[in-house]
């Protein structure tokens, strides 16, 4: 369903809001516990992302088991590394190829705001949020794998707080 508004039949039923709440809970739990990430490591942060996926830190136990090379199957894009102008159409294309619901995590200083190159590099893009909307920002240069895990868990919380009900700003 594409957003349940206050006047809809489901909410007007006795116990309707309980039904919607339970559905929300189930859908959000399913989404947050099986996020497939698009493998999009650009620079140094990619290595810490790989470390977070490898043996010691192991993000698979949170459900991020399947890294998808193709954006068509991915739920989230972790932009890990420096974004430069030549890469901008690529990032935008990848974002638009991902099906909804999709989430973007900006990992590391470069993806958040340009990183150490922000001041005077002639090719830098000052943060990937100039190109795609970002859900979670994970600071660090590079962030430790634990920081990445914390960021991804924050994303999970954000997903779990999403609602099926239509809000004033649109679903």
């Amino acid at each position: 369903m594409n957003g349940v508004d206050a006047g809809s039949r489901m909410l007007r039923m006795p116990g309707g809001s309980v039904l919607v709440d339970s559905l929300e809970w189930a859908i959000n739990a399913a989404r947050s516990n099986s996020l497939w990430t698009l493998t999009f490591g650009l620079a140094c942060c990619a290595i810490e992302m790989m470390a977070a996926g490898a043996s010691t830190y192991d993000w698979a136990r949170f459900g991020f088991e399947v890294p998808s090379a193709s954006p068509r199957r991915a739920d989230m894009m972790i932009v890990a590394g420096t974004v430069v102008r030549k890469m901008v159409p690529v990032i935008r294309t990848l974002y638009e190829q991902m099906p909804d619901p999709k989430y973007v995590v900006a990992m590391g200083g470069c993806a958040i705001a340009g990183g150490p190159y922000v001041y005077d590099s002639y090719t830098i893009v000052r943060g990937v949020d100039e190109i795609v909307p970002v859900d979670v920002y994970i600071p660090g240069c590079p962030p430790r794998p634990e920081a990445l895990l914390h960021g991804l868990m924050t994303l999970q919380e954000k997903i779990r707080s999403q609602t099926l009900r239509k809000t004033g700003a649109g679903a």
Binding site: V84, R85, K86, Y119, D120, Y122, T123, I124
Partner: protein, 140 residues
């Protein structure tokens, strides 16, 4: 071979070449027109097979054992390519061309290498301007 032997070999072959020591290696300054001949000699007879060419336009790329410099004018700098002698020069010259505006005559593939297509100008020239560029303070 030692730096002295190298300097002697160079002077024997090219008597009017100016060779002086820079750092631990000799450095020879040449004209653009004669660059190709010098490079061929270095590769074929002195067996300099891991050379990185040096072009002097307020810039240079150097190798520890020998530096060859070419003095070029700032605008309309042209130098024959050495990528047919040293294959690695193909990419280095492409980069130097887009960064400094040097034209390498005879280069097989003079496309942009690193820079985005919409960037105008030659970034590593000292008078390059860009909205992002600003002088940072020198405070420790």
């Amino acid at each position: 071979m030692t730096a002295e032997q190298l300097t002697d070999a160079l002077r024997a072959r090219f008597p009017d070449l100016s060779v002086r020591p820079v750092d631990t290696a000799p450095s020879a300054t040449v004209e653009p027109a004669t660059l190709h001949g010098h490079m061929r000699f270095l590769r074929d007879e002195l067996a300099f097979d891991m050379l990185e060419a040096v072009y002097r336009l307020f810039c240079s790329e150097a190798r520890a054992s020998l530096m060859v410099r070419v003095v070029l004018p700032r605008r309309a700098a042209r130098v024959p390519t050495v990528s047919d002698i040293f294959r690695t020069a193909e990419w280095h010259e492409r980069e130097a061309a887009e960064m400094f505006g040097i034209e390498f005559e005879g280069h097989p593939d003079p496309r942009r290498l690193l820079l985005p297509d919409d960037l105008e100008g030659h970034p590593l020239l000292k008078d390059f301007t860009h909205p992002n560029l600003r002088r940072l303070p020198e405070t420790a």
